[in-house]
Structure formats: C-alpha cells, structure tokens
C-alpha cells in the first residue's frame, strides 16, 4: 500500500526539522510512508530544510494558504497514484504515532476520510478559547454543509484512494477544514473520527488560526456556497 504524509508549511523553519525527524523515525518503525512538504511560498528556509531532510518537496511560488497547499498535496497524491494520504501539521502539534491510528479504518476499508479529533482525547490540554472556537465551527459546518463532526477544524486527516480521486478543494485558506466535509457529503465518502493527541505549545498557537479569524472563515464559507 502506497502511503503519503502531506505537510503544508508556510514559514515553519524553526520547527520543520524536528517535525520531520520525529515523523521519519516513527514512520520508518511503524509504517512505511513517503513524506511530502508543500512549501507554500515561505520566505524562510522551510523548503531547504525539508529538502535536506530527504523528503519530497513541492514549492508554491506564491503563498496561497492552507487550502491551496493541501490541494497541491492531494493533487500530487492523485497523480502519483497513492492509496492513502495523511495531512499533518508542520508546527509539531500532531503526534506521528497517530498516523497509524488514522490510516487503520481506511486500510480496513471502513472509511474514506478519517478525521483526527482533538476534542475526544485532549480536552484537558486544549485552551478554553480554542475549545469554544472549535464548537462554533462545528455548528457552522453543520449548518452550511449538513455534516456533524466533533472537530471540524482538525488539520490531521487521512484520505482513502477514492477520497484522493474525488475531493476537489475550492477554498484556499483556513476554511478548507470545513470544506472537506462538504466534499465528503457531495461524493458520498464515508467519514469517521479517531481521537488524537495534540501538543499545544506557544509556537503552535502562534502558527494556528487566531480567534478573530473565525469570522473571516465563516464569511469565506458562505461565499463558497455561491461559487
């Protein structure tokens, strides 16, 4: 089975080396995977560090946002005929061991998209404001796209071959997290959730979406319905 871990990265030079090192150690031990960093027009050495780490690197000449970078990763997976693709954050907040947990339902043929939910296992670790934003986003995702999930904003997801072939992302920025559910519903893809561990650090919080950005995300999702 051909597996790909997609890491969208924008100006992640301080963290990407460590993230890739941890990821390579775990995947070599537990599950062979190719690793792809989508350098989303970084102004720092993110791309060079990733290339030196010996992983695949695609570079956007312009910064297009999280949705744009994920779309590029999935398009690469589609063209290279991968069976499973996992999206993984570059800021070190995801635990590489969870990749096995996320891909299992796909490899057993039980799911097309697996969402690694932070709300099921790491509530104690999650800041209160972030918890509220996630709950609000879940309601918005349900209202706009009719899919209920316990963590619509998780960056940790696994896609089956069918999902890789069908999911077509139209949004370019953070709103992509909710859009994936719309695509799942449109193409009748089976979605399941697995609990994952999230490591919140000052760095990962500074890289994540700001609380006020939630309004902008809602606005972009409304526009997406009209496109």
């Amino acid at each position: 089975m051909k597996r790909l871990v997609i890491i969208p990265a924008f100006n992640e030079a301080p963290m990407i080396r460590r993230t890739l090192k941890n990821l390579k150690e775990v995947t070599q031990k537990l599950m062979p995977c190719d690793i792809l960093v989508v350098d989303d027009g970084s102004g720092d050495k993110t791309g060079t560090i990733a290339r030196n780490a010996g992983v695949l690197v695609l570079r956007h000449k312009l910064n297009r946002g999280l949705g744009g970078a994920l779309g590029t990763g999935l398009e690469f997976a589609k063209r290279q005929n991968y069976d499973v693709a996992v999206t993984f954050d570059a800021d070190g907040q995801h635990h590489p061991n969870d990749i096995v947990k996320a891909t299992e339902p796909i490899e057993r043929g039980e799911a097309d998209i697996v969402i690694g939910t932070r709300t099921k296992s790491s509530h104690g670790n999650m800041p209160v404001d972030r918890r509220l934003i996630i709950r609000g986003s879940n309601v918005i995702t349900w209202l706009l796209f009719g899919v209920w999930t316990s963590d619509s904003q998780s960056g940790f997801r696994a896609f089956s071959k069918k999902a890789i072939q069908h999911v077509e992302l139209k949004t370019d920025r953070m709103e992509v997290a909710s859009e994936i559910f719309a695509e799942a519903k449109k193409h009748k893809l089976k979605v399941t959730e697995v609990p994952i561990t999230v490591i919140y650090t000052d760095y990962s919080r500074s890289k994540g979406q700001g609380n006020l950005n939630a309004i902008n995300i809602f606005y972009k999702l409304l526009l997406r319905l009209a496109r």
Partner: protein
C-alpha cells in the same frame, strides 16, 4: 421651449456615456451577452425614469413606498449590494485560479527536477 430640466440633461448625457461603454465592452468581448443585456436593461430603465419621472412615482405607489425617489434609492441599493456580492465571488474564483496555476507550476517543477536527477544518475 426647454422640456428637460438641467439635471435631466446631465443625467441623460451620463447614461449615454455609460450605454456606449457597455456596447464597446460587449463588442470587444470583455462582457458576456447576459451581462450586456443586464446593463442595457438597467440603463434603459434609468433613462425612462429620467425622461418620465412620474413612472418611478407610479411604481413606488404600487409598491407602497410613497415617493418615486425613495423607490429608486431602494432599488439602487439592492442592485449595488448584489453586484458587490457577485464581484466578491468573482474575486474568490480568480484567487482560486491563481492557486491552480501555482499548483501546476509546483507539480511541473517537481517532475522536471526528478527527470534532471534521473539523467545525472
């Protein structure tokens, strides 16, 4: 005898200018037929309201608004908001086109680098 007020003449001249721009943009292919017809209808309606101001009062009374000028303002606001919405959607689509182009360049470069590497080894 002057049958038009100065403001009517000024507005009609402006509408003629706007009308000519719509025809020119349609002829050079900048706007599609649907948009051309939309703007032609808007400008014809506006010209008619300027030449026959009672027309707007008639419409306003029928809709229960009262004054003709109020009806024109309400209708204009709705049209402007809708056009603004369409413009925002087009802008989003344009942004997405740029993303697709950026993606294609990134994927092509990857293939080019892989081919170069293969040739060297």
């Amino acid at each position: 005898m002057n049958i038009f007020l100065p403001i009517q003449i000024f507005l009609l001249v402006f509408l003629l200018f706007a009308f000519s721009r719509v025809i020119l943009r349609f002829r050079d292919g900048t706007i599609p037929l649907g948009m051309f017809l939309f703007w032609v209808a808007i400008w014809i309606l506006a010209s008619f309201s300027i030449i026959q101001p009672n027309f707007t009062s008639f419409i306003a009374q029928r809709m229960g608004i009262g004054r003709g000028a109020d009806a024109v303002i309400y209708a204009s606001l709705i049209i402007v908001f809708y056009l603004n919405f369409r413009l925002t959607v087009s802008l989003e689509n344009l942004r997405h086109e740029i993303t697709k182009l950026t993606r294609e360049i990134a994927l092509k470069e990857k293939i080019r680098h892989a081919n170069l590497k293969r040739r060297k080894s």
